[in-house]
Symmetry: C2
Subunit: 396 residues, 2 copies
């Protein structure tokens, strides 16, 4: 049917797209850029998922002023300032910035996206000073990916080429930022995915929803997101090639791998832990318990301490509000049975095995509620001293 | 009408009650006791509030086997082991322990209460070894309060004497343990309140509910509690005196002050912060937003960093799922306006003032949503490195 190839270079392999990032003096703690763009030489369809936070940031309000099914050729992105809680002025500032940018590059419904501190107006002077520094014909995914980083410890970019049996091919590239992993949803996550596939707008909507649900939504809590969270898919169609199943697979893979990169970059985190809840009364009950586990601080600190303290796992499930029964519950770390009705206390042998499993940089906790067919898997990480340090000192 | 006097000595001033605590070798990191009792020489009415966790610990299951309106003369309490997730054996172990205790002291419907690690059977041998060490006629509130401590850094005990205009008086004394303050509800909280007031059983139920809602429930999240949480009120009526309003005031004061002690002892916490949300569409919406603030890690770490980052406050409210509008919202730190529609960015002068306020060991954050009459106040604390250390190393 088709073959997927992983390519280096993030956004750079996607035909007809250009990107660059420069430092205009807002990011003073590194040489990375703080303003970036992604553009296409032809108009793109765009599909987006935004935060459910009631206080949506100004870039999102600005985006939502465009008519449904608008096309765009330009995304401008800045870090260090979220342009959130900035009122109507925040949207006006974006319009003023694009007025100046239009002199350097012809814009069609340009989109802005921001991440950083909440509650301050954008520094227009600094941001617009990027406009004669940008190389508008650059393919510079590396600089672009670095420019959108905040507390990220490494840049996040991916690209897949899809080769169809017909001999045709298309590309999907993406960059992403995000790292705040205690309640991941509270730290801004931005993800820009571009493709030259000839994908219909309806498929973009459908497949982006599915991909988001299988990836970023599993490392965050519904309805509990930052002011700026954004996932955006742009398609300029220039390859002329498309296959829905192939696109689905590539997009799911890209979003899942990016979500895992965010977890691995969890602020000060050392482990990625898979929380599979099965045997629940319904998928929704399984989701509640699974998300409660990936968000529990007592579970997270036990992971950091590499303590096989299954009591915290059980207590978190019991507190999650779902139906459960301690006689039917079983808990596994990887393939090691940690708890069942018959086998409650950890003997020395199993405890030693559990310690070994917990020393791994990744392992799986499986909780089978033994009540039904509902299941859900989410992904969490441990909580270390480093998290507190990063977040206590973030703004200052 | 009446006068309230604060007395030293916790439980000791309450007529007809005796208590003691001893160390039987389960608590090895201090000389404090690990097994304690509270008893009355006459039978007591008892009113209790237990955890909403689905996996209720064995002591709670044991309690619930008694008929409604049972009377008791004895509470046995241990630390270091929660006797939770121990199945039917956990309840049998309690029965076996009381069988042995009955030889030392005549028991009527004895109650057990436990706190500590989940998933291990009680060490019957050690616990029953306390029975010939106890002084059953002691008034030893200090040792009793210390015996129920786990990660607590200080013991928690209080007593009020109520003097009525008639010349009669009664006493209310209490001890309490609890310290896990990130999500306070996830760390066990035990509170034992005893009184010699001649209070009717119906009033006990009504006033304990009211007192719990105004205190412990405001530092924890509904439906998200540990396996063992217990608040218990025992009345032996021996003073013959009672006045409902006086009892209400004394009980509310005791529970509120104990709740604040728990916060101050928050694992590694340095500040107590009051989160008042008003102007909400309803009290329930105000409660949601207020509890979201006291539980937000990003807010907590900003408090620890003494960073006047109101953006995290706003974002948390926006993410709490309630109705809100950034044009109507105002945020104050104590009396200092930090955010309003007209005054969004913090100027230098206000920022300096905010820094000063945040250096205090206690201050108030007020969020007025400007939408209605709903209000709620909850109480939180900051999150420090110490929390992670305590919780990573707790069990081992």
């Amino acid at each position: 049917m088709f073959n997927l190839f992983s390519l280096k270079g993030g956004l750079d392999n996607v035909q007809g797209f250009y990107s660059d990032g420069v430092n205009v003096g807002m990011k003073t703690d590194s040489n990375d850029g703080d303003v970036a763009f992604i553009r296409s030489h032809t108009l793109c369809d765009v599909s987006s998922r935004f935060t459910t936070n009631k206080f949506q940031a100004s870039p999102i309000k600005h985006y939502q002023k465009y008519p449904k099914d608008f096309k765009t050729n330009f995304i401008l992105i800045n870090s260090k300032n979220a342009n959130a809680m900035t009122g109507e002025q925040g949207v006006k500032d974006i319009e003023a910035i694009f007025e100046k940018l239009d002199r350097f590059h012809t814009l069609e419904n340009p989109i802005m996206s921001s991440t950083g501190v909440i509650g301050y107006r954008l520094n227009q002077e600094k941001i617009t000073s990027a406009f004669d520094k940008f190389d508008y014909n650059a393919k510079n995914s590396d600089k672009t990916a670095r420019s959108i980083m905040t507390t990220d410890k490494f840049k996040k970019e991916l690209c897949f080429r899809v080769e169809l049996d017909s001999g045709e091919s298309f590309n999907i590239g993406a960059i992403c930022k995000g790292a705040g992993m205690i309640n991941p949803a509270m730290a801004t996550m931005l993800c820009f995915i571009i493709t030259d596939a000839d994908i219909p707008k309806d498929d973009m909507e459908e497949l982006l929803s599915e991909a988001t649900e299988g990836s970023f939504n599993r490392i965050s809590v519904d309805g509990d997101t930052s002011t700026n969270d954004t996932i955006m898919l742009l398609a300029n169609k220039v390859s002329g090639a498309y296959n829905k199943e192939a696109f689905r697979e590539a997009l799911n893979k890209i979003t899942f791998e990016l979500a895992m990169m965010i977890l691995k970059d969890g602020e000060g985190s050392n482990k990625v832990v898979v929380f599979e809840v099965k045997g629940a009364k319904s998928n929704e009950e399984a989701r509640k318990a699974s998300m409660a586990l990936s968000n529990s601080l007592l579970v997270k600190t036990a992971l950091f301490g590499e303590d096989p303290n299954w009591g915290r796992i059980a207590s978190t499930i019991g507190a999650s509000g779902i139906e459960c029964d301690e006689k039917r519950l079983t808990i596994y770390y990887d393939n090691l049975l940690i708890y069942s009705d018959e086998q409650r206390e950890l003997d020395k042998e199993r405890e030693d095995k559990a310690y070994k499993i917990m020393k791994n940089s990744s392992f799986k906790v499986t909780c089978d509620l033994g009540l039904g067919e509902g299941n859900y898997t989410s992904y969490g990480c441990d909580l270390s001293y480093e998290y507190v340090k990063i977040n206590a000192e973030y703004r200052t």
